[in-house]
Symmetry: C2
Subunit: 411 residues, 2 copies
């Protein structure tokens, strides 16, 4: 309920909006920007000049259009010059990437990790080491404008502290991950941190299946089950930043024990361990090596493949897990009335292997008006959804205020 | 990603913001408005002049302030002149009220209704009759600026059609309630329609316990269980308008049959029927007269009172219902990470009678970081929460664009 925006606010808003068009939509002509943004040609020209001077975009003549008249200049993101570091900390792997403006993954490093609680110095040391390696390979005129990480845990709003993560940390720890990683990177930039499923939802909403979908649920499977929810076009953050922890919705009271201390959570009934145990393929030891086929994404795929080949035990395991997944999704449909539900991580395999069971649970438990227009999909960004979301989080402040970047770049 | 706002947009925004201050906060001095809205004195003066000319507010000298200097004029809503009609259609009663700008209930009518499906002509006839009675008693210079209704059912976004309501309608009906009521009112005004629990949430967020709370869940008990969710300061609407139907979250798979066709829904385990049956006080006939003590709010109160007096059957019934309520609330806490959960309608009585059980379920099933700062409350607006929400919905377009009202009033 404050006053209207100042001229400076409007200019910043328009610069951010233009840069967002180029960043998310790719190269675009000035004429098209004029039409899409509802601004006049001279304003668009002034805005692109400012962004060009700051080195965020460049303007080029288009290729032959075959049409008469002077062609409109095409505005492109400076993808190879302006970049962010994006990190993904999962139970089974660490990923670091250098991502250019426009969303291009320019370079990446990946390391399998042993399951179990991490040691903070080792973890941030490994990630910062990757960043240094990638940075050494860049040209001198490149500029890093941000950094962010996705983690398989709960991240407190504001300070990037991880406060829970049954598949990453010991219980009752508070880990100042963002602050520590920022220090080790030594770039003079703060590191934003987000829950992996929340960032997966953001990625699908920005660059995946959920572009222009205002109400979507992204479910991420990776040992546990996480959720990211876009409601009315905005990520559901919650009061402290823990919104979307749908993996700890109890679907089976008195059911399987969950790492969170409760029983019968969606994660306990649908997660990797539930599937592998039902399929007779799990070891009691959860902290063993991440050998292929023993657990992890490969082990989940193996169950789905076996079921496809007619293995009855694998089929029964998928039915059981699919029924609980369907019940959980039905609940979420009733609660959120989403337009789309996207299955990501290892839930892609589980959903594909149990879609009929999931759908029959929806028929039983989701209300008709809520499910009539619903679409169920598997992630278009595959194993990179959470990493892509981290990159978008890192770019967010540049898009919100390119002027600040202009100032830093002396523009 | 459109251009910045025009001068006209800014004026409309500021007029709406000023009117909202007066409508929600009550009489306020120009000096205070200047400070709260971050605008200069002459702008505030111009805005209040426009709103005064339109008859939406009036300015008065304050009472003795005891301070030296010229006192700042106080801006008051024209509560007795500018009003809306608000309606509440519940399973057991119909309510109609004339609500003045500023949220004052100026007049009201209430009628108990027999349970069971309604007939649309009778229903809108009764409501329109109430409105006519109340209108006849108004002074000639009063003006009706809107109308809205809360209904215990699902309302499709955009057209005010009720598409489900197990406690109001036959299954598989689509009832054009808003359109029909608008026609019968004959005021030349559209009637906005909302789900009762959604409007209860809006009311608590505007005028109840949830003012300044950006993440809250309002749970409404009235035969069934409804939910309204404010996430990040906005009502969760969902893709088709059915967001917040938490009563049909399955908490007890294979449990009690629910009116929606599923089993073990929160509504089936916690609703009025579950409590009365567990307490040995329910008749099989659900469509009997709404006699006091047989069912309805009074019957629920009687169980809680009996439990307080030591009736063991009533105590056991409340424990059972409290356990399921607690499990449902734990799930919602994990999913939404709200700052506050508000129990409304007959859930006020049930929560007060089973708070210890509810809390122990939260300890078992809600994650620690999500519940550490959570507040559980009973509705401050009591039986009027849904009606007050309907009034706020009716005022919404006036607050969004007082200029339109100005134009209609010839200002």
């Amino acid at each position: 309920m404050r006053a209207g925006p100042s001229q400076e606010d409007i200019r910043r808003h328009n610069l951010g909006a233009l840069l967002r068009h180029v960043h998310l939509g790719g190269p675009i002509s000035r004429a098209e920007l004029t039409s899409r943004m509802g601004l006049n040609r001279s304003t668009i020209m002034a805005l692109t000049s400012d962004l060009t001077a700051a080195g965020l975009v460049r303007e080029e003549l288009p290729r032959e259009t075959g049409r008469a008249g002077r062609p409109s200049l095409v505005v492109r993101p400076e993808s190879s010059r302006v970049y962010v570091f994006a990190f993904d900390v999962g139970p089974d792997r660490l990923v670091a990437a250098r991502v250019g403006l426009g969303g291009v993954i320019l370079d990446r490093r990946e390391l399998p990790r042993r399951r179990g609680p991490f040691e903070l110095p080792e973890l941030v040391g490994a990630l910062a080491g990757f960043a240094r390696q990638m940075r050494r390979k860049t040209r001198p005129d490149t500029v890093c404008v941000g950094a962010a990480a996705a983690v398989a845990g709960g991240v407190r709003k504001g300070d990037g502290v991880i406060t829970f993560g049954p598949n990453l940390m010991k219980p009752h720890q508070e880990v100042p991950f963002g602050e520590e990683l920022g220090r080790r990177l030594g770039l003079g930039l703060p590191v934003s941190v987000g829950n992996d499923a929340n960032l997966g939802a953001l990625a699908e909403h920005s660059r995946g299946l959920g572009v222009s979908v205002k109400d979507l649920i992204y479910l991420h499977g990776d040992v546990g089950i996480g959720g990211g929810i876009i409601a009315g076009g905005h990520l559901l953050g919650g009061h402290d930043g823990y919104g979307g922890e749908v993996g700890h919705m109890v679907v089976n009271p008195g059911g399987r024990a969950c790492g969170c201390g409760s029983h019968g959570c969606l994660e306990a009934e649908v997660g990797e361990r539930a599937l592998l145990e039902a399929a007779g393929r799990a070891k009691a030891d959860q902290n063993g090596d991440a050998q292929q086929g023993k657990h992890g994404r490969e082990a989940v795929r193996a169950v789905v493949d076996a079921a496809d080949r007619g293995d009855i035990v694998a089929q029964e395991a998928l039915k059981r897990v699919g029924d609980w997944l369907g019940l959980g999704v039905a609940n979420l449909i009733n609660i959120f009335n989403p337009e789309m539900v996207i299955f990501g991580g290892m839930l892609r395999e589980i959903y594909l292997g149990s879609a009929a069971r999931v759908r029959s649970q929806l028929t039983l438990h989701a209300m008709t008006p809520q499910r009539e227009r619903l679409r169920l999909r598997t992630s278009a960004l595959a194993d990179d959804a959470t990493l892509v979301g981290a990159a978008e989080l890192a770019f967010a402040h540049v898009l919100a205020d390119p002027l600040e970047v202009l100032a830093r770049a002396g523009g």
